[in-house]
Subunit: 112 residues, 2 copies
């Protein structure tokens, strides 16, 4: 295996680990539509517990994917948004969605 192969291996494997963490693609996809508050993200993640969502958001902040902004209002407002690195994940998620619909799960028909 030459160095280019090693590089491909490592960069794909590292990214795979990142996008396959449960909830990460859903949170990133939801934030692609704009900044979100905690309760909005909770609604986007079916069945997630507040504790898990909070841990996941901390992790995404540590990974430089999500930015947490708090506004000194009363009551204080906290919003989450994607960083440039977070937005760079979107093409992967789009391709994953396309593959999933084409090969794994049929596209749902939106209810009228």
């Amino acid at each position: 295996m030459n160095e280019v192969h090693v590089g491909t291996y490592c960069s794909v494997a590292a990214t795979a680990e990142l996008v396959a963490t449960k909830w990460t693609p859903v949170i990133v996809h939801d934030l692609s539509e704009g900044p979100r508050r905690f309760t909005q993200l909770e609604r986007a993640c079916p069945g997630i517990s507040p504790r898990t969502l909070s841990e996941r958001l901390d992790m995404l902040e540590d990974q430089g994917i999500v930015l947490r902004r708090s506004y000194p209002e009363s009551p204080p407002r906290v919003e989450y948004e994607l960083t440039d690195k977070g937005r760079a994940l979107l093409p992967i998620i789009r391709e994953m969605r396309k593959f999933g619909h084409a090969w794994l799960i049929p596209e749902p028909v939106p209810s009228a």
Copy 2:
């Protein structure tokens, strides 16, 4: 969460599970260059054991991603190749590689 969101969630999550399985992206990437024999795939996966590679290839065959062709020669020749479904994973892997090089691991300089 509306049905379109549920669909996005499920298709992305199902695909994430698939591409994040250790070695799957590397094997699919290697097979994108053409049919491969077992020993060639072994070289493409640094540190994989023959047993793990064999299990992974069985799994990829069950998932409809890899096709195993055996040629009645002496000694018998077995080759693995991508199915259409397997090839449909390539845009995801390409985007993962791009992201990895840009944000996680720098692109290696090929040795002269």
